[in-house]
Symmetry: C2
Subunit: 427 residues, 2 copies
C-alpha cells in the first residue's frame, strides 16, 4: 500500500472506507481518549459477552446449579472448538477449547515425541515465546537424556531464513514446533511451506497460533498440519485467561497418547471405572473440569470474528500495519526509532514492534499520559521493543495516527524522562 | 447425637438453634422449593460474587484492560492461596490457586516420584476419585515400567481398614496419595495418623482435599503433610470450574521439580529468557495464564468460609449428616435403602450416600418433581448411590427433612417408575 500524506485527513478517509468499521460498535469502548493497541495481549470486551456472562452467573450457576452441566457446560469445549475450527481451516471434530496454551502444548508435544520414539530431536526457534520453550525444556528434563532441543537461529533478529530452517530438519527430528507469528518481531511463517518441509523428513509439526488465530487466514486441513495450540484472549477476545484451544489432525487422533489422563478424556467418565480408557474422539485431549465462567464470553467473541471473516480482517490488518509503519518512517525513524518487525507485509502478523533505547520509559509515558493527551496502551518487550498491536475488529486508522503522533511528541520533547526505569510486574 | 422424633418440628428447632443459620442469606437462593443437596459437587453462588464478577468483567476487563494485570490479577493465585491456607492449617507461602485439580495432581505426583528415584511404588486406594487414578495411570504410562500403582482394597465397601493401609506401605513406596474424603462413600481418613504412617517408611504423602476443604478441619502444617491438591467449586463455592489449589510443604518446595515448566513459574517471566529458571517460591508450581473471571468469585466465597470457621462448619455438618442418617433409618431402610456411608461421624465427610437398586430413577424423580412437591437435587454415583451433600453454610435441617420425606414418598409410591433408565450426560 502507498500512503501519500501523514495528515489526519487520510486516516479519516481510510476509516470511512473501512467496511469492517461497524464491528467497533460491538465492543465496550467507553473512553474515546484511550487508544488501545494491546489487543494482541488481551482483546477488548465484546458487548454481548456482558449479558452472556450475567446469564451464566445468575441463572446458570445461581439457579440451575449442577443441572447447568447438562444444559450446555459439558458440550462447551466441543462447540467452542467448532467455532474456532471454522476460523483456522479445521474440521469441527479436530478442535477443542480446553486448559491453558502451555498445558495443551505439553500434552501435544509429549504425545508427538512418543509417537516417534526412534527420533530424538525437537526443533523450535529463538523467536518462540519463552513459555513454549520452557515447556519443551521441562519435557526434555522429564523424558531424559535421549532427547535434545534445537533452536533455529535468526540472522537479522527479525526473520528466520528458510535455509536455516531446512538445515535444522533431518530424519532425527520427531517434532517441529513454532509460533506462527513471533511474539516480539511479529515474523509470520509460511505455514504451508514449513509444514511441507517438515513432512519431507517425516517430522510432525505443532504450531502455536496464539498470535495469529483470528487475524491471519490459515488452512490447517488443506496444508496437512498435524497439531496446533493457541490462546483465545488475544485476537479472539475471549477475556482474561479464557481457556486455550488445541487442534489434532483427525488421522492422528487415535495414534496419540496425551500424558494427562483426565477424567473428561475418558470414554465414559460417569461409569467411574478405576481403569482409564481414552475417548475415541478429540475429547481424549481434555483433562479435568474447565473454568466455565471464563469460557462463556468466547461464544459471542468468536461469532464476531466469524462474521467479519478472517480474510477481511487480514486485509484490514495489513493496511493498518502498513499505515503504522509509514507514519513511523516519516515521524519516528528520524527520532532514533528502528523497525523491529519485518517490512514485508507477507512476513508480518498484526502487530508492529518499534525499537528505541528508551523504549520502556516511552511506554510508561504513553500509558500514563494526562488529558488532553490520549492514553496510548502498547506493551513492552525487553530490551527495547514497543509492541503496537492492531486488532482490526476495533482498531481505527485515526487511533493509529493519534498514537504515532503522541509517540512523536513524547520522544521529540523527551517527555519520557519524567518516568521511572523500574519495571511494573506485567509490562 | 440423639434424635427422638421424625417430626418436622424438630428440624425447625434445630434450625432455630443453629448459630450459622444467617450465612444462608449470603447466597443466592431464589426458589425455596428447590432443595439443593449437591453443594459437594457445585457450591451455591455467593451474593457478593455477583458484584465482584460484574466489576471484573465491566471495569477490570472492559475499561482497565491489560492494566488490570498489575492491579490485582497477577497476585490472585497467591492471595487466594493464602485465604485457603488459613482454612487447611497451612502457611500463606505454601498454597497457590492454579489450574485444575487433575493438573495439579499430575505436577505434584510426578515431582514426588522423581524425588525418590530409587522407590518404585505409588500407593492409592480403590475409593480414590477415578480422575486421580487416571492421572496416576497416565504418569506410569509416561515414566515407564519402573513404576507400579498399588490400590489399597476396601473390606466393607465403606471404609479402608488401617491394617490394609499399613500393609501397603513399605520402603519401596515413593508416594501415598489418597482422597481425604472418598467421593462415593464419604469415608474420611485420619489424615494425621495416615501421614505419620507413611513417613515411617519414608514415603511422601499427597492428599486430595476436594471433598473436605472448607468443611473438615485439618492442620496440614501441624501434621507434617507434604503435598495436597483440591478443588474450589464444592464446599468452597468458587463457581463452576473455578481453579483448583495446591499445597507444598515449605521445606520441600525447592527440592521438587514440577514437570510443567510454565512461564509464570519462572523466576523473572518478563525478562523473556530463553532458558527456564524456576521461581524460588510456591509460584514455581504455576504454569500459564489463569482464567481470571473464573477466579473472581473465590475471594468473597472463601471469606464466607473463613468467617463461619471450619470447626463450626464441621460441627453443623456432623449434626446434619447424623440427622439425615436418623431419618433414613426411620423412613428409608424399611423401604429397601441401605447406608452407603460410614455410620461413625468421625469416619464420614459432609455427604451421605444412600443406596437403592433403583437409585438412578429415584434421583431423576427427585430432580424432576413438579410443584407442589419440592425439587430435590442430589447426585448419583454408579451403580446405586444417591449422594446427599450437606453444605453447612446454607443447608437447613428443614431441607434435609423435606428431602428425606420426599424420597420416602417417591419410593413408597414407586413414583420413580415413570422415569427413564437412560443416563443424562452428567449425573
Amino acid at each position: 500500500m502507498h500512503f501519500i500524506t501523514t495528515d489526519l485527513s487520510l486516516a479519516r478517509k481510510l476509516d470511512a472506507q473501512d467496511e469492517l468499521a461497524g464491528f467497533r460498535e460491538a465492543f465496550v469502548i467507553q473512553d474515546q481518549n484511550l487508544i488501545y493497541l494491546d489487543g494482541n495481549s488481551l482483546g477488548r470486551l465484546p458487548r454481548k459477552a456482558i449479558s452472556t456472562l450475567q446469564d451464566g452467573i445468575e441463572r446458570q450457576w445461581g439457579e440451575r446449579l449442577i443441572r447447568a452441566w447438562n444444559e450446555g457446560w459439558i458440550d462447551a469445549p466441543r462447540l467452542l472448538g467448532a467455532k474456532i475450527a471454522s476460523l483456522i481451516g479445521a474440521s469441527d471434530d479436530e478442535v477443542l477449547v480446553t486448559d491453558a496454551t502451555s498445558i495443551n502444548l505439553f500434552k501435544l508435544a509429549v504425545a508427538a515425541l512418543r509417537r516417534h520414539p526412534e527420533r530424538r530431536t525437537l526443533v523450535s526457534d529463538v523467536f518462540n515465546f519463552p513459555s513454549d520453550l520452557y515447556i519443551f525444556q521441562g519435557i526434555l528434563d522429564l523424558l531424559g537424556e535421549r532427547y535434545r532441543l534445537e533452536l533455529i537461529p535468526s540472522r537479522d533478529g527479525l526473520t528466520i531464513d528458510p535455509q536455516d530452517l531446512a538445515q535444522a530438519l533431518n530424519e532425527d527430528v520427531a517434532l517441529l514446533s513454532l509460533s506462527h507469528v513471533a511474539f516480539k518481531s511479529a515474523f509470520l511463517y509460511d505455514m504451508q511451506a514449513v509444514t511441507a518441509l517438515a513432512h519431507q523428513v517425516g517430522a510432525l509439526v505443532l504450531w502455536d497460533l496464539s498470535h495469529s488465530a483470528g487475524v491471519v487466514p490459515m488452512d490447517l486441513d488443506g496444508w496437512g498440519v498435524d497439531l496446533a495450540v493457541g490462546c483465545t484472549y488475544k485476537y479472539l477476545n475471549g477475556g482474561p485467561g479464557s481457556p486455550a484451544f488445541l487442534f489434532v489432525k483427525r488421522q492422528l487422533r487415535e495414534q496419540l497418547i496425551p500424558p494427562l489422563w483426565g477424567w473428561f478424556a475418558a470414554q465414559s467418565p460417569f461409569d467411574f471405572d478405576l481403569q482409564f480408557t481414552p475417548a475415541p474422539s478429540i475429547s481424549r485431549f481434555r483433562v479435568g473440569t474447565l473454568p466455565v465462567l471464563s469460557m462463556l464470553a468466547l461464544g459471542p467473541a468468536l461469532d464476531l470474528v466469524g462474521e467479519a471473516g478472517v480474510d477481511r480482517l487480514r486485509e484490514k490488518s495489513v493496511a493498518q500495519t502498513e499505515y503504522l509503519i509509514y507514519l513511523a518512517q516519516q515521524w519516528l525513524v528520524p527520532l532514533g526509532f528502528s523497525l523491529g518487525s519485518p517490512f514485508q507485509a507477507g512476513q508480518r502478523g498484526s502487530h508492529v514492534s518499534l525499537r528505541h533505547p528508551e523504549g520502556y520509559r516511552i511506554c510508561r509515558a504513553l500509558i500514563e499520559s494526562l488529558p488532553p493527551a490520549p492514553v496510548v496502551i502498547p506493551d513492552f518487550r525487553t530490551p527495547d521493543n514497543i509492541r503496537l498491536g492492531v486488532a482490526p475488529l476495533y482498531t481505527t486508522f485515526v487511533e493509529i495516527h493519534r498514537a504515532l503522533a503522541r509517540l512523536r511528541v513524547i520522544v521529540a520533547e523527551k517527555l519520557y524522562e519524567g518516568y521511572p526505569h523500574e519495571r511494573l510486574a506485567v509490562t
